[in-house]
Subunit: 154 residues, 2 copies
DNA sequence: TTTTTAAATGCGAATGATTTGCAGTTAAAT
DNA sequence: ATTTAACTGCAAATCATTCGCATTTAAAAA
């Protein structure tokens, strides 16, 4: 059962990881909290849906979600990625850890891979033409069908 | 200097790799040829631009490019992928070989990786929760800045 | 070769995700 | 408390991609 935490408490909890230069607004704090409790990377639409649940009457703009995510991303607080098997971008808190997923093509469930199969990038980059390429990131995605969906397929 | 080859010759050249069940039209042959001479995977827009160069007056629909690519993809003739660093899908002939790229975030140049760093997928899939996951494919993308763009950055 | 027919095309309109312009708030610096 | 740059809501604009439908065409059948 989930604890009830006041907005003020939330704000305090995230004080440490909130980057300078990003204005801390009610909307952004809420988006941050949604991301921090998410078990999967979320799309802007999924985030907005959760926002609306908490703001049944208050006005709230979809564009604010996008703009906040962009601000978070620029500040290095959030990672955006586009999975092959989906047509929307997903966002997750940049924990510096998990980054890669196995994605079910049917139910779209995302299972995070423990660790990174490319942790030793050097050998990969020995490819000719890549000698002077400055690597800033990489993504690995494995797709197929999860246990449940395999069963559904009969 | 490029050789001049008649359309008829083109058609003959690709007779072997053209899959059954895919009607061979002037438009599709042209798209196929564009893909087969491309050095990078191309977006639908890039393909369409090249089509227009060859068809300065003849009518040609953007949607035909999409529909042809979809038909090719279904027939296993073409591979579609969405790169993290781009917002459009790119297509390439399914040679059964190269599939992974290093992408420059600035000029969008794509450098194909020789071989696949995940050729031994098994160890990766030992992740808990993935035991019963049926893998049908994967994608690896490395991004950063290519030699030229690094220089431009001063 | 002519006929037949399912599949492909052109065209424009529809969709869905994401972005943007602008006028009205608001966080946070003074 | 005042000021101001940054943020928000809202609606309209974009951009990639898909779809409906009437017309055309490749290729199967006669």
């Amino acid at each position: 059962m989930a604890l009830k935490i006041s907005p003020e408490t939330y704000v305090n909890q995230i004080d440490n990881s909130w980057p300078d230069g990003v204005k801390k607004t009610r909307q952004r704090v809420e988006i941050y909290n949604i991301l921090s409790t998410a078990k999967e990377p979320l799309s802007a639409a999924e985030i907005f849906a959760r926002v609306l649940e908490n703001n049944k009457e208050a006005g709230y703009a979809f564009s604010t979600v996008y703009r906040s995510l962009l601000a978070f991303e620029k500040a290095g607080m959030v990672t955006k990625s586009v999975l092959v098997s989906e047509d929307t971008a997903v966002y997750e808190l940049n924990s510096g850890k998990i980054k890669h997923y196995a994605v079910c093509l049917k139910c779209h469930k995302k299972i995070s891979l423990k660790g990174c199969p490319l942790s030793n990038l050097r050998p990969v980059l020995s490819t000719e033409g890549l000698e002077d390429f400055m690597v800033t990131g990489h993504q690995i995605e494995i797709y197929g069908y999860c246990k449940n969906c395999r069963m559904d397929m009969v």
